[in-house]
Amino acid sequence: MQRLTAPDSAAVGDNPTADAHYAHPRARKGFFTDTSICIGCKACEVACKEWNRNPVDSNYELSNSSFDNSEGLGADTWRHVAFIEQDRSRIEAARESGRALVSLGMPQIRNADVPTTAGEAITTAITGAAPGPLSAAAVPPASGLPPAPELGDLDVLSSLGGGPTRPEDARAVDTTPPDTPEFRWLMSSDVCKHCTNAGCLDVCPTGALFRTEHGTVVVQDDVCNGCGTCVAGCPFGVIERRKDGIAQPKTERSAAPVTPTRPGTPEPARNVGVAQKCTLCYDRLVDDQTPACAQACPTTSIKFGEREDLVDAARERVARLHAEGRTEARLYGANPQDGVGGTGSVFLLLDEPEVYGLPPDPRVPTADLPRMYARAGIAMASMAAASALAFMLGGRK
């Protein structure tokens, strides 16, 4: 039986495995996808399909979207590389928005006497807007007190030498390199987020979706009845029911027994009608293997490991890019206070999440359940009261 988790339940923390009551929970595993070093080779897409034997997802026509011909995540495509062409004005805007996110976070690190209002503003900025860079740690506790000084490693501007301490000063520092390019081509490999508070898992009525001992979220193909509730439950639009397709190459090279079908005839796809998504290569993790996409990535843009370490590495990377003047860098999914309680797959983005087709403010639908139950309760109580009142009033007549 799955337990519904409230999104703001800090007790769950970063490792939802504890919540799943494993006798021996492991450290939470995840991905850190650093899009700043992605070369768009799509090796992750191919390695994923090969390992998971996913069907082809194409009519073999250009999809009218730069070099992106797989278009998005779905039942058959569990890694997807986006290609975004941008001009200079967009790059400058991205630098500005990234810098603003950091500048907001700066005062509380250096100054303990930061006004409460600023603290509130930060909370709003981080939880309400994009899960910004450094957000996971920069967010003050509910009390509004500034975070502890051990967050000094996030002090981006201090590494620039005598960095300013006030937001207005921070903005005054020109970290824009002299060579802001005229043009850039963003590439980013998207994947299932393996949320701390996973919408798909919360709404699954059959228990086909489960939280693994690694903290990931996996579909059991033989349990899923294809009801599709999870499809609506995912705030990222990741999970999908499989239609059909072919998984076999046109010329079968395997030495396995010849299939009765004619050569060139598409093989029936596995798991048709069943909800499908990235498993974070659960079948590889049980053998201590790296997931196929991370294994195939030639530039280590996709890093696999314990989520805690990955988030640390991600923060360091953002700080370094900011120090180089590349203030467009920010993290996505590292903030435990966001609408899904943070994600197992963390991303370093170079622009607003929307640019990559990611929701700026993902929110697990069950987050509203307590409120909905409360309101439903009030409504029921009101109805009951009204009925009772009606009877009472009617009784008098």
Binding site: G40, F183, R253, A255, T299
Partner: protein
Amino acid sequence: MANADCIVIQGSNMAEAHPVGFQWVTEAKTRGAKVFHVDPRFSRTSAVADKHVPIRAGSDIVLLGALINYVLTHEKWFKEYVVAYTNAATIVNEDFRDAEDLDGMFSGYDEQTGGYDMESWAYEPEPGTGDAAAGVGDEPAQEDGAEASTEAAGHQYGSGGPDVETHRPRRDETLQHPRTVFQILKRHYARYTPEMVRDACGISVADFEELARTITENSGRERTTCFAYAVGWTQHTVGAQYIRTATILQLLLGNMGRPGGGVMALRGHASIQGCTDIPTLFNLLPGYLPMPTVEKQDLGTYLESIASKKQKGYWAEADAYTVSLLKAWWGDAAHADNDYAYDYIPRLTGPHGTYQTVEGMIAGDVEGYFLLGQNPAVGSANGRMQRMGMSHLKWLVVRDFQLIESATWWKDGPEIATGELRTEDIETEVFFFPAANHVEKAGTFTQTQRLLQWRHQAVAPPGDAQSELQFFHELGKRIRARLADSTDPRDRPLLDLTWDYPEDEHGEPDGEAILQEINGHHLTGPDAGKLLSSYTEMKADGSTAGGCWIYTGVFADGINHAADRTPGGGDGPQTEEWGWAWPANRRILYNRASADPQGRPWSERKKLVWWDEEQGRWVGNDVPDFPVDRAPGSTPDPSLGGAAALAGDDPFIMQADGKGWLFAPKGMVDGPLPTHYEAQESPVRNPLYRQQHNPTRVTLPRKDNLSAPEPGAPGSDVYPFVFTTYRLTEHHTAGGMSRWLPYLSELQPEMFCEVSPELAAERGLEPYGWATLVSPRAAIEAKVLVTERMRPLRVGGQTVHQIGLPYHWGVGNDAVVTGDSANDLLGITLDPNVLIQGSKVGAVDIRPGRRPQGAQLLRLVEDYQRRAGLTEETGNEGVTGSHDEAGAKQATDRSERLDRGTGGEEE
């Protein structure tokens, strides 16, 4: 590359075409290196570089020459390194005339042969050494420019270099003598200025200066810059000289033989390096020994032509390498009395490159053709000529994974569609043999760093699929069985071959046994039967055998070092326990240059090997590429010859003078210094010289290989745009390994062209709609990607539009995805040194809509040809202006044809 402080990727789309190797660029960048990408297109490589510099395709020598000029005029060259380790101080003889003096030509050009006599490029001998007597004129056959240009003589020297004959050249260490290489170099590149770069390459002065500043700031004692190139540099009619230009620049900056330096040749997948080491090239034997020609009738003459015993360096031991090779091939049948069976090797009678072979097929001179992992119907320039050539064969063998277009052109090729060929008329018998892929057989790959890596067999090949080893071993056995009773001496080479490799139960020969044969072993003496551990153990007296001298040591001590796989390469800084790098597991060549003339590292940060006074030997983090006990200050008598003659400061141990060559007195058939020439089909005049093209380029003037008119000539506006061809990550070359795979095909399903928004507006091209591209040879169709990644360039007052074309698709019915082939548009004009085609610059027109089908397609191409007035001579002039008379006649012919042809004009 991971050690570089600055990386310039030029002539390569490294992130897309070499994504795995690109990890080292990523690592260098993480360590703070600056990465430049100089390329006509903004590609995935540009996206992750610090800066992309768009350049007009085919103008790289101007940019590199200007960088050389910048380094010289701004005094940024590494003085100690240049004086000690290069031939900067060497004096060239007084007959030499530079391209600056002769408006784009060097002295020694012979109009009859279209080649150079290199005599006037030679070093001046030290007076009184008596060396002059041994100089020019001794070897007339080799001196002949004509022979050189027709036989791709440049490539024959491979990793070594030709003999310079002058073994004690005159030097001026002050570099002031006007005929020193240094002064010649200065004068040669004086007009390669930032403004010239702007006007010729379309690169702004600011961008040029940023590039020049970054490179020079990241070179010297403490820092190193490296260049990486691929076929974007080689596939030009002056391609070999592109690399030479980069070499000169890197020598001046002291970036050769040092960590993070060098000029990185990014070789293809997965063993292109291997197939030049143990070559599939017509003019080389294993280990870059030249293929004998008919002129070299005995072993002595042959060996003399490789290297003189009197020259410095390891090529002087070519006799040991050659005799060991012959012993490996013919065993006991090779002995001193028969020149070690030297006569068993066939002799070259002329150039037999792939394109000459195709010409031979069309002419009916070639009867049979083996295609092994090659798909020329799609992957080679002028695809129509390739397919028409194959249609004249008697038999064709295709060994591949799939029924590639080169195996199916006879039933569904483009010429069937146009009606030029009819299946029932084709007499070629096509045999298809399924091939085992790389996980289905064991063996080695030699990758771009010269690293041999052993791969183990993972699964058995399916069905009838076989490895190449098994196929050829079996073929050899069957041929030998047929000839077993032959008494014809011409069959002796086959019958005497050592052809006895052990096989497993499936008939697969043991790859390790073959690698051992390549490694070589002692035949006689106390060590008889023992494997060689180094090529220095090879002897010219028949007491050793070895199939490829540079690979000797891969099986040292009976261990297959190609299979060494210590995780991370072991504890050493050069990761030497992963695979085995030829030669001698040395990771950086010429690494003696990483230390100063006294043998001390140039800097702590960039140390690699150094002289240990106490031990009296070279030590360090790599296998020293130098006689290990030769002290830095030693000056042996140069007349000793060979390695013994190398002085303590001669780091370039394969060169005949031990120095890095800024100026090539021999070996390059198109000039001792790289000079900018325009491509065969350039839209602009050469801004530097009257001479438009490389005068020694190899042209194929044929009706089926027409070229566009010269810029400005009548008809030059018919093909107004430049196209350049390239690869995508998602596909593998001509598609045999990717277009049959759904997972790869879906990622790049359709042939497309990349055009700028400006060109799309000018020609009315719809994004993701269709366009037809017409070159002087063919017309193809492609989907249109309109992108700001393509940028029109202002060059010399005119706008040059460049169109990008991936070349992976081909016409057929068998692949998952098919499409027109970009290579059909290309013509065949070759670099004279290595006979590679110029495939990075071509002339084309683009128009919206799909191309006509059937015979209508031929008519479209012909209409364009008529409008442009093309003849076989068009664009094929050797020396610019020499065909003026012929040109006038050509113009008359053209107008006549135009008169006749107006009725058929398109639209």
